[in-house]
Structures are given as structure tokens and as C-alpha cells.
Amino acid sequence: MTDTLPIDHQRKRRFSRAERGRALNITVLLIATLMVLFPFLWMISLAFTPAQEAFRDVSLWPSNPTLENFVTALTVGNLSRAFVNSAVVALVAVLTNCLFTVSAGYAFAHLPFRGSNVVFYCLLATAAIPVAVTLIPLFLMASSIPFAGGNDALGRGGSGLIDTLGGLSIPYLVGTMSIFLVRQFFLGMSRDLAEAARIDGASELRIFWSIYLPISRPIVAVVAIFAFTGVWDDLLWPLVVSSSARSQTVQLALTGFTQSGNIQYAPLMAAAIIVTIPVLLVFLFNQRHFISGLSEGAVKG
């Protein structure tokens, strides 16, 4: 792949200057990345340090590197089951978010209807209320979903979706901030395409599906990344909804190593690293869609 900055292609005589600029660019990026990664490097170092030596000899390269902490993290506790649970909930959230927030965000940006601004600001407002306040009502709702967990039609009698993966996924299905995000993304895009298609007699749904959705790959990628990360990182909701190992999430499993007054540093770091990997893979997979100048074709068309 070549540098896509237009300057390179336009002016060959400035090639060497562009080349130098690129080297500088990568160097700055490299330094920034190393600085940002620094605390994380310490985590990795600790994860390979024998548990009883953690934080005793402080050096970035452990003197007796070991894998024991990773073995502990994976065998003691409930991390592997929690992995599956978190992955299932996260993937469901990714799918529902990509589907519903992208369509809603598009509509708010390009198809304003009567009162759509009011609806939009209401959506947005819910994000500005601390979870501490909505936790209990949401819990009550999860426990009284009709016909679930032994509940009757009025949502009474049983435990509803408490301690189930269904219950776990409730707060993550549609992210209000993602709707806002998609709206902003589409606001930044030209409406000429839609106008042209409308004149051709295309339906609104078709305009969305066949014109705008394909060029919204970068934002769908971001929505997916954020939806996945949001589920993966949350502790408070799983804490109240999960009561057994079968519905435990990764963050809950991690608390096994952080018991107040008895933190197990080295295994915790190993577990935290293992837990980070799937999100990193999701990110790596999705970031391919950030290709500079992607919208070029769309505007020219």
C-alpha cells in the first residue's frame, strides 16, 4: 500500500520531502504509542513475574519469567466460562447496535420528521443520567419480564431474566450515544446522492440500504467496536444480574483476583491481559475500514 496523501501522487518532485514527512509521522506515532502503552507494558511484565515476587523487584524485564499466572488465571476461577458468556452478549449487542443505531442515526440525519429533534434529544438525555439511578429500575424490569424465568403474563411469580444471558444483554442492545454518533457521521456527508436517487424514484429505504449503508463502513466499524467494548467492560450491571457461574461475565470473573484486602496482583494482570485480547482482535479486524479517502467515490458518483 502506498501513502494516500494526494500530495505524493500529484507532485513527484516533492517525493523525497513527502518521504521524510512520512518517516517523521511514523516516528512520532511510534513514540506516542510507546508512551501510551507504558502502563500496559508493566502489566505484561507483572503477568510474567512469579506471584510472590510481584512488585518486589521492580523491573520491566522479570528476572524469573514464568507462565504460572496465566495458568492460574485460566484454571482457577471461572474465566473460560465467563469468556463465552461475555462473547455471546457482546456479539448480540454488536449485531443489534449495528442494525438499529445505524438506521436510526441515518434517519435523524437525513430524514427528519415532525418532532424528530425532540425524540433525538430525549434519546440523548438518557445518557446523561448516572447509572446509579437507573440500575434498580432496570433490575426490576429485568426481573419482571413476562413469561421469562417462571414469570406469568404480568411478569410476576418468577425471577424473569435475572441470572440469564438475556437479562445480561438488556442494557446494551441499542446505544443511544451510537445513534448520536451515526447521526453526526451522516450529517457530515453530502445529501446530493439521495437527492439524485429520489429524482430517479428510489424509495427512502432503498436509498439507505444501497447508497448510504455501503459508504458508512467506518462508522459501522466504530459502532461495532464500541458496542463490543461496552459489554466487555461493564461490571455494575452483571454484578446485580448474574448470580451464578453460568451467567458470569469476564469483568465479574476478574473480581475474583481483586478481592478487597487480598488482591492477587500477578494472576490479576495475567487475567486482565487475556481478557483484553478479544477486544483487541475485534478492534484490529474493524479498523481496516478506516481507509483515508473512502468517501471519494460516493461524492463523485
Binding site: 435523524f108 446509579a132 467506518p218
Partner: protein, 277 residues
């Protein structure tokens, strides 16, 4: 309409309803431990906040924290996004590495930060090599909030960068081509092509940062527990304590709605400012 309906329905049921429930609770005295229904107390919870010096202090800390973390985060994230907005081999590795702080477990990494800030920690070690005396970073009321801010900026960089990176994709390439044919320099390109094109996304980033920063809790809980001398006690920290430590859902809800008004005001000011420019 069809496109909005599923999302709107979901948000109505699972997000607006709990919020309305919370709003109702803010006019009551209620603990989830009690067996009966909440007792209606009118505006009492709100009235109590008016004269509450701790709450006022927490509002001030929240404002300061939000306003000092926000510009720094966005500026650094923007530079990183511009640097990472090229396609060369391995750019994905850089982007992912910069996103790592956002996804790594806060509890785990906070221990590294606590240690870095501690008396024998890394930061004091580095100072020591320059013959500067060690500081108690998180123990001093004057520096604790800044210490927490640094970690928050570090943690928030990645997600802000990703958003700005996505925003950069919406800027049509031919605009750059046209401008550079006209002989525009890099600064000119940035000022007259990149920034205007990035505006909707910048507005989003600023608005969400305000909304989330104003509700800061977790990083404070793990680093300073609101101290010393309440210098890092944010409003949401008070809300958590009130709700889960003291089980006073009524007054916790009232605080939450005052915080909400505060966030709404701050966001509106920011958006207004953005529009005028």
C-alpha cells in the same frame, strides 16, 4: 420512521422508563431495603441539596475535572488521529495499541497507576534522576485531581482517536486535491478542509466527552476514593455513595437530576459555541 422505530421503542422501554422512575424517586424518600412503597416528600431532596456544601464542592470538582480533561484529550486524540489516518503497513498495529488503554481492565491497570504515583513509584524515580524531590501525587489536595486527570486522559485517548479517525473518513478526498492544487500549505489544509469537515464528529466527541466526564466515578473510586479532603469527590461519586453505600435512592436520584441539568447546560454551551464558529 421505520428506521427509527426499533431503536426508539427500545430506548423508550429500557432507558426512558428507568429514568422517569428515577425522576419520580427523586421526590420521595426510598431505600430499596424497605418493604413498603416510597414516601412522597415533594421537593425536600432538592431543597436539601441547595444548602449542601459537599454537593456544591462536588459540582465544582466535576466542572473543573471535565473542563481540564476535555481539551487535552481532544487535542492529543486529534493529533494521533491525523497521524494514524494514513495507510501504511502496520498502521493497524499503531491504532490498536493506542486503543489498548480504553479496553484494558480499569481495576487491573489502576494498580499500576497507583504504584507509578506512589512514594517509591516510577514518576518519583524519574524525578529523582533529575534531582527533584519525590511528591505524594495522590495524597495532596492540590495535585490529586490532576493525577486522576492524567490517567483519565490516557484512558480516553483511544476512543476519541477512533471517533476522529472515522470522522476523517467523511472528508472527501477531492477537497484536499482541489486545495493543494491551489497551492495550500499543510496548516491551510488543516484549517480550511480538515477542521470544517470534521465538525460534526468533533461536536459528537465534545458532547459525549462532556456527558461521560461529568459522570466520572470509576477512576476516582480506584485511585483516590474521593479524597484527600474531598478534592476528588465528584457529583457522581456522591451519587454512588448515596445510592449504594447509604441506600438513599431518593436523594441520590435528586442529585442525579441536578447533575443532569448541569450536563445539559454544559453541553448546550459547547454546542452553541461550536455552531457559531
Amino acid at each position: 420512521m421505520l428506521l427509527v422505530a426499533p431503536a426508539a421503542l427500545y430506548v423508550l422501554v429500557f432507558q426512558i422508563v428507568p429514568v422517569v422512575y428515577g425522576l419520580i424517586l427523586s421526590f420521595t424518600e426510598y431505600t430499596p431495603l424497605q418493604r413498603g412503597a416510597p414516601t412522597f416528600v415533594g421537593l425536600q431532596n432538592y431543597a436539601a441539596l441547595v444548602g449542601d456544601a459537599d454537593f456544591r464542592g462536588a459540582l465544582w470538582v466535576t466542572a473543573r475535572y471535565t473542563l481540564q480533561v476535555l481539551p487535552v484529550t481532544i487535542a492529543i486524540a486529534l493529533v494521533l488521529a491525523l497521524l494514524a489516518n494514513r495507510s501504511f503497513r502496520g498502521v493497524g498495529i499503531f491504532r490498536s495499541a493506542l486503543y489498548v488503554p480504553h479496553i484494558v481492565s480499569l481495576t487491573a491497570v489502576s494498580m499500576i497507576w497507583l504504584w507509578m504515583y506512589s512514594q517509591n513509584g516510577l514518576i518519583n524515580d524519574i524525578l529523582g534522576t533529575f534531582n527533584l524531590s519525590p511528591q505524594h501525587w495522590l495524597n495532596e489536595p492540590s495535585s490529586a485531581l490532576n493525577g486522576v486527570s492524567v490517567m483519565r486522559i490516557w484512558k480516553a485517548l483511544g476512543s476519541n482517536m477512533v471517533l476522529l479517525l472515522a470522522g476523517l473518513q467523511t472528508i472527501p478526498k477531492n477537497l484536499y486535491e482541489a486545495a493543494s492544487i491551489d497551492g495550500a500549505g499543510r496548516w491551510h489544509l488543516f484549517r480550511h478542509v480538515t477542521l470544517p469537515g470534521l465538525r460534526p464528529m468533533l461536536i459528537y466527541v465534545i458532547a459525549t466527552d462532556i456527558i461521560y466526564l461529568s459522570q466520572s466515578f470509576a477512576e476516582i473510586f480506584v485511585l483516590t476514593s474521593g479524597g484527600p479532603l474531598r478534592s476528588t469527590t465528584t457529583v457522581n461519586y456522591l451519587i454512588y455513595t448515596e445510592a449504594f453505600e447509604y441506600s438513599n435512592m431518593g436523594s441520590a436520584s435528586a442529585m442525579a437530576f441536578v447533575l443532569f441539568a448541569f450536563i445539559a447546560a454544559l453541553t448546550l454551551i459547547a454546542l452553541r459555541g461550536g455552531r457559531e464558529r
